[in-house]
């Protein structure tokens, strides 16, 4: 299968796919032509709604019920599968469009397999890992003891330590990164010729993301499997692929070698994608937007100050022992500035945020809001202070009540604090929408009618309704496409300047942090390993952990390449 000379593995010609909504077919893919050669890694890049996932689902025959292929063809050349009863004979071509379920089943797993988007929900929660991997192996006709042995082999191949233990565990006992590796093992189990990786790492921390992508790349090179990466992030795409295909509104706007596309993009759309990927914009280096002089890093009058905050959770099922979520962390958020809290999942970022918001009581340490010690205040006493401090959540798809109109969502804090009457609240809502650059006509819409970026704007407007001094931003852009991320960050910067807001910004992505923050604290396992101005911490990191986070930012290889730094593509 390492023979790359025998023509393309998959050919897509003039593919057109639409979704039936209210008896009308809305086109999602409009005449896409592309091919994937054996052993080649191709990246499909585009924003949400560009049709990239629809193309992937068409290849593997898993389109939803309301999708219709209205034209074109998808041909797979599986070659010799080396077993009787399979779909394969040498030089045989299988047409996927309009194929019967039986034919498609023969292709799935065996010829084309899928690594799905979100590892947290991609595995059956009520079955152990072993049997879930074994299914794909059994479909190849393997049986008996051989199956168990192969399960361990594939788990090991996907980079999982201690596969015997993992095979006996349930998905919820594994971290996101491990689950993604299990999904890779499942994709490998059918010995496919093409793996489709649908946003394989966007739900993971940057460092985990890097390790997973490195691993996939290594596997592809060793085994000669072709890889189709679906992503919204041009930085990931150009780092990892032989060829980049840029999609917009269901059409291919540009394709070619990543270095050509990066150096001389022919389309405005591609240029926008490059500009939106923070890792690509500055030749792979993090260039902080704000530079704070060292003597101005500390401030005498912070909006909020955490002093030696510690939070312990008792461990379940045991009398002794506890889990130290936050360990002696101190930080200040200066007025009118942004302080970032950086770290991976489990580093204590979110717990720190909950402590600052007063949703959790610290085990020890103090929280001072505007110089007032709120550590020991009860719920009723902190309530008036809540007007000063507001929260924007990570996921705009979950943080808005789907049954509330936008207007109702935005005015809810006003109602809660009894501010104004119906008419003045509505006027305020219009003004707030205007601040986040949404038209007043959105007042009566429902969240379902809005895109992710628009929803996050609404969430920001809601947080601003009470004219807070401090806004806590919990990964506010990580659920959004890169191009939309940039717009939201620009909006946040603009609001800060106009309204004098202070932000506590939580993120695992350093390139995003550099776009908005003045100062930063890096958290690792509940401890603050480093803090200071962004320019200082990112420019000359003192701890290994910070260095690791910086190196994990995607786009560095290609960016270095396009900048002519001479770093070889294969690392």
């Amino acid at each position: 299968m390492t023979d790359t000379a025998s023509g393309p593995l998959v050919t897509v010609a003039d593919l057109q796919v639409g979704y039936v909504r209210r008896r009308r077919t809305v086109p999602a893919v409009r005449g896409v032509t592309l091919s994937v050669a054996r052993g080649e890694t191709v990246a499909l890049v585009g924003e949400s709604g560009s049709g990239k996932s629809t193309i992937a689902n068409t290849l593997i025959g898993l389109l939803p019920d309301n999708a219709r292929v209205t034209g074109g063809s998808v041909t797979v050349h599986p070659g010799d599968l080396g077993d009787p009863g399979g779909v394969g004979r040498p030089d045989r071509a299988v047409e996927v469009v309009g194929a019967r379920e039986r034919t498609l089943r023969g292709l799935r797993g065996r010829v084309i397999s899928l690594v799905p988007q979100d590892p947290m929900v991609g595995l059956n929660p009520t079955r152990r890992i072993g049997p879930q991997v074994a299914e794909g192996i059994r479909l190849r006709g393997v049986s008996g003891d051989r199956v168990g042995a192969e399960v361990l082999e594939f788990l090991a191949q996907a980079g999982i330590d201690d596969p015997e233990l993992r095979a006996r565990q349930y998905p919820h006992e594994l971290s996101g990164g491990l689950r993604q590796r299990v999904l890779i093992a499942i994709a490998l189990a059918g010995r496919p010729q093409l793996i489709i990786a649908d946003e394989p790492t966007s739900a993971l921390d940057v460092t985990v993301q890097r390790r997973i992508l490195d691993h996939l790349e290594g596997l592809v090179r060793e085994t000669g499997i072709s890889l189709l990466i679906i992503t919204h992030d041009l930085a990931v795409a150009s780092d990892r692929s032989d060829r980049v295909i840029v999609l917009q509104n269901g059409e291919v706007v540009e394709q070619g070698n990543p270095r050509h596309i990066l150096v001389s993009p022919r389309q405005d759309y591609t240029r926008r994608l490059i500009a939106a990927a923070p890792g690509l914009a500055h030749g792979g280096r993090i260039v902080p937007r704000f530079v704070v002089p060292a003597e101005r890093v500390s401030t005498p009058d912070p909006v909020i100050r955490l002093e030696n905050i510690t939070k312990r959770y008792p461990l379940p099922g045991r009398q002794a022992g506890s889990f130290l979520a936050v360990d002696d962390v101190s930080l200040d958020v200066a007025r009118g500035r942004t302080h970032a809290l950086v770290g991976e999942s489990g580093s204590g970022k979110t717990t720190t945020l909950r402590l600052a918001l007063g949703l959790e009581k610290a085990t020890s340490g103090r929280v001072l809001l505007d110089g007032v010690d709120i550590t020991d205040l009860g719920w009723r006493e902190t309530r008036p202070l809540r007007r000063k401090i507001q929260l924007v959540h990570q996921n705009p798809f979950a943080s808005l009540d789907p049954r509330f109109t936008i207007g109702r969502s935005i005015t809810e804090p006003l109602v809660a604090f009894g501010i104004g009457d119906r008419r003045t609240r509505r006027a305020r809502a219009v003004a707030l929408l205007d601040q986040v650059a949404l038209p007043a006509s959105y007042l009566d819409r429902l969240p379902a009618e809005l895109s992710g970026g628009q929803r996050q704007r609404v969430a920001i407007a809601r947080a601003l309704a009470l004219e807070p001094e401090l806004v806590l931003l919990d990964e506010p852009v990580s659920a959004l496409d890169v191009s939309v991320q940039e717009q939201i960050l620009a909006l946040l910067r603009d609001l800060q300047e106009r309204l004098g807001l202070s932000y506590l910004f939580i993120s695992h992505d350093l390139s995003v942090v550099a776009q908005i923050s003045h100062t930063v604290t890096v958290l690792n396992r509940g401890r603050a390993v480093e803090s200071g101005s962004v320019a200082e911490v990112f420019g000359s990191p003192e701890s290994d952990y910070t260095r690791e986070l910086i190196e994990a930012i995607p786009g560095q290889r290609s960016a270095a390449l396009s900048a002519g730094a001479g770093v070889p593509l294969d690392v």
Binding site: G122, E135, H172, Y313, G346
Partner: protein, 318 residues
Amino acid sequence: MTRYILGRFAQALGVLWAAYTVTFVVLYLLPSDPVALQLGAAGIETDKLSPAELHTAMARYGLDRPILEQYFSDLWGFLRGDLGESIAKQEPVTALLGERLGPTLTLTVTAGVLALLGGTALAYLASYVRWRPARLFLTRLPSFGASFPQFFIGLLLIQFLSFNLGLLPATGTYGWKSLVMPAITIAILAASQLAQVLMRSFDDTLSQPYVATARAKGLSRAAVQWHHGFRNALLPAMTILGILVGLTVTSAIVAETVFSRNGIGKLAQESVLAQDVPVVLAIVTIAAAIFVFVNLVVDLLYPLLDPRIVHGQRKAVA
């Protein structure tokens, strides 16, 4: 885990006590004179009694005591297994129940199993079938079944199976033949409700990303639904299992009346009509006990079906 079970048992006892107390309060303290009501059940017309005779009659049934004393002595009796004496039938309630409990339990268990199998099979099939007309028919079936009054189903069954075809006896308490029609009558409603919940649950489950993962492996739809859909779809439906058992017990009253079966349901109906307070109180408490027991079993079954649930442990928040 042991602590969890003990806690749940204590909770169950609390619920039982509450059910008993509420029933007691409803029966004794609501408008109308409880004494006249109960003596009336014994065939004594209070209006025609002299005060002395009334007093003797009240003493006979323990109705002359203060209400709280009645409550506590009845509660103490319950705890020892003495459910008092039926006023209308002049028999100990335990004896009455003992005689009627058997047929009712057979009926409800048969109906429950039928409903469980029927409802699950219907939902499973409805979400498996792809052919649109068949799918439409199967998915509409439960709302059809749930919207028929039970007595009407019972009467239809009697009309066809007994009167027209002469296959089964229309009435009776003993033998499996007498069990078929009442069991089906009860099961249709319970199965319909279960199927409605399960169908929605299957729809949700089969659109989960892990189902896409399973299909991408190349598994057949049958294998995907069996290995990845079924167990996960059952989880949300488990919660209504307790409610369904309650439904089955109450349906027994209708079914036993329609098919003239001598069971608790019929006894309940007779006792309510005759205003036989001790019997009603006992039946309500027993029904509550069954309800509480089933819910306890369901809660203990959860961790067996869903490995993510570990009772007695709180998850650490990271």
